[in-house]
Amino acid sequence: MNVRFLAALGSLTLCMTLAAPSVPVSADANVIVFGSPVSLTGALAKEGHLTQEGYNFWKTYINAHGGIKVGGKSYKVDIKYYDDESKNNTAQDLAERLIDQDHVNYILGPYGSGTSFTVAQLVERKKIPMVEGNGAAEKIFNQGFRYTFGVLSPAKRYLEGILDLTHSQKPAAQTVAITAASDAFSQEVAAGAAAFATAHGMRVVYNNKYPDTATDVSSIISALKATNPDVILNAGHLQDALLVHKGLKEQNVAAKAYGYSVGPDTPDFITALGKDANDVLGGAQWSDTVKYKADRPGFYDTAPEYARAFEAAYHHRPDYHNAESTAACLAFQYAIESAGTLDPEKVRDALAKLDVTTFYGIIKFDSRGLNVFKPMVTNQIQNGRLVTVWPRYTAVAKAVYPAPPWGQR
């Protein structure tokens, strides 16, 4: 066996593992094909899978209920995925492949702000509309892009609810410490939280970032502990939430409230942390107890109906990543129906004019393509179960505040 052969063997292994199982895109004229680069491996794999579930749930429903009606004709839907490995540039390359080689009609967004941003640049060049439900950084929407629409509330809102809640307690929380990963989304979340806290008379006593590849955050936690804050917030993703929360316990950092932008909503947070997960707060785009009612037919009308059907299909409660992903599909569904054609330009215009209330809340875009009209909710883990505690009009339980000391949860 010679070296050249082995190099070839190596490359072959590489290619075989890189190429995701590929389902040929139907050339059927009666099928609308969506394409989505989504993170199935890498740091954001969990969130990527939740995104994919949200998309697939919609696809199954729509196909079982006659498809999308366009100008008197019914179309089935199909979604073609590629794994972007949680890498921004890979997501962009794959989106290009979906558009140029697989000739998909539209793009459904990837998971995360970094990937959504690179794909947004591409769809702009290709003039193919994208609706995304998982990139909340406003940076994506401040570039003057015309073809990217986001159904979620902007990143800066993620932790506002937790601050609002803790500041309305008696006695009110006064001081806040914020740690944030260095990616665009987390930085916007942190900046939004700091601005909100200051505007509401709270003092930000610690505000710092760490690299998003950090494997140890002990020293950040030591520095934060020295400021003795009432509220500890982390702007990041599931990995960050787990790392920081374990670190807080290890150094015995006692605060009145612990809040995370992403993490508490995914079931993994509870299974990985056990009792330590109790009383943790999380900002969420949606919860299965929100009280919206759809104002047009074509899908589940309310959040509980959606949640029941979803759980029957995937054996876990839908979290907000699932719901916002489904909502991205719904935006397309209603826009395509009202456009009455599959022409990308006309569908784009219909998206820009969309104004619909769904199980997920209002879907309506400002001139930048961002859904600033939908409020966020705040959830808390109580006895191992996620419940909505804020805002009051949609809360199903009273928030536990202040959080009991470590070891008593």
């Binding site: 082995l6 190099a7 590849t213 494997t215 140890d216 950040i220 290890e250 990985a272």
Partner: protein
């Protein structure tokens, strides 16, 4: 002031883990001249082995250390014997490609077996800590450091005292001379690669106590192993240990840097990696063989 003491402790505790992370990587690189890109994947497998033993059989993570080692050693030994052995003398690109492919393969199999769900090992004593003067020390991380030091100690003694250990060091110095003296080099290479994987498994076990487990968890550790090795000096136990501790302490102190130049606010904690790499660059300029590395011909 007490924050500096706390940072030093944090740095040492984190550095101990990094030393074990880098140890196996360093041996394989230094002795076989293979940059083993599958190292991160082996770390991940070690963490999952611990997780499975912990959740299914309630085996304490520290007791699962030898099990992780044996499992990963066996896997590494077989992979070397039947796969890597073919590229040992090939240009580095071939081993690069092969180990990269292996890594992808293992991670993708892990995704099928364990899905992308993030899990954690949370023991009854996880999070427990004690305070020494003003410094808080988490027990788990202290045990981890002790285990890390013990492992590097055992490795050092074994490499210098045992017959196999001496054969390994002889092979690292001069393959030809070792062969002439009766060392069975392919066998030695398989043992070294097995050791590398076994030590990665041990590192995975130690990491699982404080770091979330999922199939792609090995990636950031692979990069750190690379830096730690070069920093400390290739192919030696003390190199990995000194490199790991140095890296941990630098990262820890970096979080204290807080400079405002004009309107630009620079926070060291966001630049931990960059600062550690600048230190690496300085070390490479002043002492290209690493802090305790020996010059080679």
């Amino acid at each position: 002031m007490h924050l500096l003491a706390q940072d030093l402790v944090n740095g040492i505790l984190a550095g101990g883990i990094l030393a074990v992370v880098a140890l196996g990587f360093s041996l394989v690189w230094g002795i076989m001249n293979i940059i083993n890109l599958a190292h991160g994947a082996y770390i991940m497998l070690g963490a999952y082995a611990t997780y499975e033993l912990f959740t299914r059989l309630h085996v304490d993570p520290f007791l699962s250390l030898p099990i992780s080692f044996v499992l990963l050693f066996t896997l590494g030994y077989l992979i070397q014997r039947f796969l890597i052995n073919w590229v040992v003398r090939a240009p580095i690109l071939a081993s690069f490609l092969l180990t990269f492919g292996l890594s992808l393969l293992i991670v993708n199999i892990a995704l099928i077996v364990w899905t992308s769900d993030t899990v954690g090992v949370t023991t009854s004593y996880s999070g427990a800590n004690f305070t020494l003067a003003t410094v808080t020390v988490p027990w788990v991380k202290l045990y981890t450091l002790i285990a890390a030091l013990a492992i590097t100690g055992i490795m050092q003694v074994w490499l210098t005292r045992s017959k196999t250990g001496r054969a390994i060091r002889a092979t690292a110095m001069d393959i030809g001379a070792a062969q002439l003296s009766g060392v069975r080099v392919p066998q030695i290479f398989a043992i070294v690669y097995g050791l590398g994987a076994g030590l990665a498994g041990v590192a995975g076990t130690l990491i699982s106590l404080s770091y979330p487990i999922n199939p792609s968890m090995g990636d950031p550790f692979l990069i750190k192993a690379f830096v730690v090795c070069v920093l400390g000096g290739l192919g030696s136990v003390e190199g990995a240990l000194i490199g790991g501790l140095t890296y941990g302490i630098i990262e820890s102190f970096a979080t204290q840097i807080d400079v405002t130049i004009g309107t630009q606010h620079i926070s060291g904690s966001g630049l931990q990696d960059a600062i550690a790499l600048v230190v690496l660059l300085i070390v490479l300029m002043v002492r290209p063989r690493g802090i305790v590395g020996r010059a080679t011909a």
